[in-house]
Symmetry: C2
């Protein structure tokens, strides 16, 4: 029982957008080759040759396949929309390597083939075998869709079959599941690509079994201890750390490792969509509410704590030490995108858009060469100088745990699939980006062309081109951040019904029809709930979906002393030469007069005089593209 | 070559002060017995019997003697001012135990006698043998002064002689020094108590040798590694972590473990005072400036980072995660008190007073039963609930590393010695507290009686009672926080010369002379330097030397959303029944209207309406005496 709508496939969408197309192009021409090189030079590709011997460098790591797999997935999406012979060549080579690493029984993981062959499936809580398998399945499905070749798909079906023989409720099979969810959503993708229902059933098993008593991980740990083989470090985070503390259907609070949590919820949403099982949705809705009302940064970042890369506690959203892993924001988009197919509610698209234009895009430099793992909302470089690479105050070329770079590459390469959904009713538009969508309505091929300068301007024009006149609904998302949206059809203002945030234009459409959506985009001063103790007395500037920050490059140091008068005028101007072309916000703020502190006092009786100073805010996603320096999203705000 | 003034000894000072006398009494009647019991029940006393055998519980720890020693020191001071048979009995018992633990060669440390006898003096950087020896020497000097008994003093002279035979520049001796400074200042105390110049010379050696090349700790670590015996955990903090990165005379920035740093500076100041060596003062002045202008909390707390209990970097003074070990604030007082004898500058007394009335007093509950190790400036209990005892959001009964409780006990028991200094010129008054000081001026016995309700009122009256008329200078400190101080002699306003913060009243004094000092005590809104990024847009309320905080008990939760209008009237009222009698500050603040967030939104466009709310601030030192809850010193402040 499928739900009514589904995402419009990548190959039915073209992107000509001035904002997105260059990013996707950079991803293809710069990021994908760089990531291939990193996989090569760090030994991730060599590992697949299974030639490693003890004592040699570059010992294959338990989760290296996941990095390679995400790169393959990214390259495949890229080939689907913009075939590139250079990428094609690299892709063929890597697929060949992956195929060659498969064992006769279907198993595939270099570490557990050449380093610890006796430990296969022995420590599901900490090892990442099923996690890696999942990413390989996603890669296989993408590769199949992009190239039509079953090569990797067949490899992964063999691996999935092996997993299916190993895990399940039947006697003699392991009733285990992975410490790091991922294989669940991947099995659904494999099912969709192949039609093999066992894969869907296995995904369902993994979801259902997780957190049941007696807890599999407890039994596993006892066995490992008996054998003197464990546990590793992840145990300290407990079952909550990997969402195995209770069955998903009983959970109502997001907890533990953010990426694990969101991949699990995504997989569960896929299962709910494919099976029509109504018992998953209530828990998913509770978890969604808990996450989005108490544990979400304004950037779409989640998982505030470096300790366990995890959620900490409600409303605990520190800025300087925000972890906000790039992968977690991407996972948030994945989950919201899946919920949106289950139920067309604009709140899901709002959150997709929030993470997309803010935390996710911040994950990669504008030139496509460097990456953030953690995405803090404020940076004081001196405070971070001794921090490891993954919470560095500047983007890095690569990471020991390199999950984020290929994750953002696959997201950008597949951006097109997040824009539209189609259903019997017609087409729903979730995101605004110039380009074209091709679909059929009542059997009639239709093209919808979007023209827009989003996110800098709130005007979006749609040219509707059915091959022949046909009735369908064009559902346009009215973003949660917008107020006073207007819609015109062929120049005339219309007031269509709005259902869960979608304005539904239902009519007989014909070639030449034109729809104009206008979303006013004033600069908003956003406040955080008073329970978010870090942001009291502060505002974040947002315009459309874009959250702004102030940087040292524009505003000097001591950004925390910059105070935004509550009623100060803010000017939004597009600067085509700055940071790839962005709208900046400028105005006058206050700073305490340095002369009042000329004696070097650490404390003195106030109030000290303040001076008006010009300030400029830039989109958060574009920060740290002009060298290291202070940065802040939440600005002190006050009075007149 | 001694400096001109010295601290008036404890036995020449009596305290009748309404603020201090009850605290000193509670220290004697509650805290001292409790701490004795803790030492007993944790095995710290039993350890001194040297009966421990491998496999038994309560393995003697390398620094247990230091806890016992500080308790002895505290008990001795207490006996000196308020003899108590119960304390006397416990004191005798413990001194007996300590004496019994001494080895024939003078060595004394239970751990290195019964647990690791082969490791004596082998790991100076990490073990605490000299540190413990130092605390025992301090205890011995205090015990000797209080009781006249040489029992412990002789024990410690034998230990000091052993140390003197072991360490020094002479061939065959170790050129080492302790990873945790303390023995330096203690050796000076022992020298002062005994007149034995070798002890002063040894203190000088330890100061001079520290940080010289080749670095002793480097050589030691290489030797330990060779023997497979180390290093322990402290190595990660490097030589800077224990101020051994360069000779003290070359240092100009405070660094590393805060208590170690301040004990070292204190010892160096003692050496400078006793030897007249002018080469130490320049470095001490640079370090003082660096610490007090960039690394000091408004509470007198120092050492912001839990990592290494250390200074982090300039102006890095986070509030919620402020470490501010109680011992470090006490060490700050120790050092400033010593500098004050070297040079009578009120800035040193100002900092003594700051730490005393704020961070130090916060270290113990009003009932004398529980202790803070870390003293954060803001607390959100949920954020600390998983933290270990020493950064807990509530005071604890004891700690594994129990340095703080006996440190505050010895400070309170010896409070009298910090109030006055005497010199050829006369008497200097550094702190204001009711009581009496006895000294001689030009051979004439003089009594000066202070009457005051400080710190709640700024009026202080002095009754001067020389046995016969005599000329001397009464130097009164004009606190750095005060503006508009007035002085009257026998009712007439006088304007004496003020030298480095001391108003100097020089005249022929006779019985019945009366001096009135009046220090206006308005509520001050203190601001932190704009470089302290955590406190921008915030003020701390201070009245006289007392820093205030808001607590959940008076103001509810979400204290960070409480905003103090910049010009709001603040009422200071003495509440005799509250927290042992305190002046509270009340007024009207603002909070955002909860109704504006009734939908549970995490983010929304502002500005949201605000409501006036009554607020009450209490002295920081008295916080957390009404259950666990939020607390904040730095309050949002704004506009009209």
């Amino acid at each position: 029982m499928k739900t009514a709508q589904h995402s419009l496939p990548l190959k039915q969408v073209t992107i000509t957008d001035a904002f997105w197309a260059p990013k996707i192009e950079t991803n293809r021409t710069v990021t994908l080759p760089i990531e291939y090189e990193q996989c090569k030079k760090t030994g991730r590709l060599e590992a697949l040759k299974l030639q490693w011997k003890p004592g040699q460098p570059n010992e294959p790591h338990i989760f290296w396949e996941s990095d390679v797999a995400k790169w393959v997935e990214a390259a495949a999406y890229s080939q689907e929309t913009a075939p590139d012979p250079r990428v094609a060549k690299l892709l063929d080579e890597v697929v060949e390597l992956l195929a060659g690493a498969q064992q006769p029984d279907g198993y595939l993981n270099a570490h557990f083939t050449v380093v610890n062959p006796d430990r296969r499936w022995s420590n599901l809580q900490e090892h990442h075998e099923l996690y890696c398998a999942g990413h390989l399945m996603e890669a296989a499905a993408a590769h199949f869709h992009a190239t039509g070749s079953r090569k990797l798909l067949d490899v992964m079906c063999r691996f999935a079959d092996h997993i299916d023989r190993t895990f399940g409720p039947e006697p003699g099979k392991k009733r285990g599941y992975c410490g790091h969810p991922e294989v669940e959503l991947a099995l659904v993708k494999l099912y969709r690509a192949t039609g093999e229902k066992r894969y869907l059933k296995l995904a369902e098993f993994f979801i259902n079994e997780r957190g049941q008593e007696p807890n599999y991980f407890k039994q596993e740990a006892e066995e490992l201890k008996r054998q003197g083989k464990g546990p590793w470090g992840w145990y300290q985070h407990g079952y909550e750390g990997c969402q195995a503390h209770q069955p998903l259907r009983d959970q109502d609070k997001v907890t533990g490792h953010a990426v694990r949590a969101l991949y699990l919820y995504s997989g569960a949403t896929d299962v709910a969509e494919e099976t029509g099982d109504p018992t998953l949705a209530p828990a998913l809705h509770k978890l969604w509410d808990h996450l989005h009302s108490r544990n979400l940064y304004i950037t779409g970042g989640i998982g505030s704590s470096r300790n366990g890369e995890a959620f900490s506690f409600d409303y605990d959203l520190p800025n300087e030490v925000a972890y906000c892993e790039t992968c977690a924001a991407i996972a948030l988009l994945f989950w919201n995108h899946r919920l949106l197919q289950l139920e067309q509610d604009a709140k899901y698209a709002d959150e997709m858009e929030r993470s997309l234009y803010n935390n996710i895009l911040a994950g990669v430099s504008l030139d496509g060469r460097r990456f953030f793992y953690a995405n803090p909302l404020a940076v004081y470089p001196e405070a971070n100088k001794n921090n490891p690479d993954n919470i560095a105050p500047t983007r890095q070329e690569w990471f020991g745990c390199a999950c984020c770079p290929p994750n953002i590459a696959r997201l950008l390469a597949s951006f097109g699939q997040y824009i539209y959904s189609e259903s019997d009713q017609g087409l729903a538009v979730h995101l605004y980006a110039a380009g074209e969508a091709a679909f059929t309505a009542g059997g009639v091929p239709v093209t919808v062309r979007q023209q827009t300068a989003y996110p800098w301007k709130g005007k979006v024009r749609f040219h509707i081109k059915p091959e022949q006149p046909v009735a369908f609904t064009l559902a346009l998302r009215i973003p949660g951040w917008s107020r006073g949206a207007t819609i015109r059809v062929n120049g005339d203002v219309v007031t269509p019904p709005v259902d869960k945030g979608y304005a539904k234009l239902t009519r007989q459409w014909q070639k030449g029809d034109r729809v104009d959506l206008e979303l006013p985009m004033p600069v908003e001063r956003i406040e955080a709930n008073p329970k978010v103790r870090m942001d009291c007395g502060r505002v974040a500037l947002q315009r459309g979906p874009v959250v702004y920050c102030v940087e040292e490059a524009d505003n000097g140091t001591e950004l925390n002393d910059l105070t935004l008068p509550r009623r100060a005028k803010l000017k939004a101007v597009f600067e085509p030469e700055l940071l790839g072309g962005v709208v900046t916000l400028t105005g006058t703020a206050w700073r305490r007069d340095p002369a009042a502190w000329g004696n070097g006092a650490l404390y003195q009786a106030g109030p000290t005089a303040r001076l008006p100073v010009p300030f400029k805010a830039v989109p958060y996603y574009a920060w740290n593209n002009r060298g290291a320096g202070e940065m802040a999203i939440w600005l002190a705000s006050e009075g007149a």
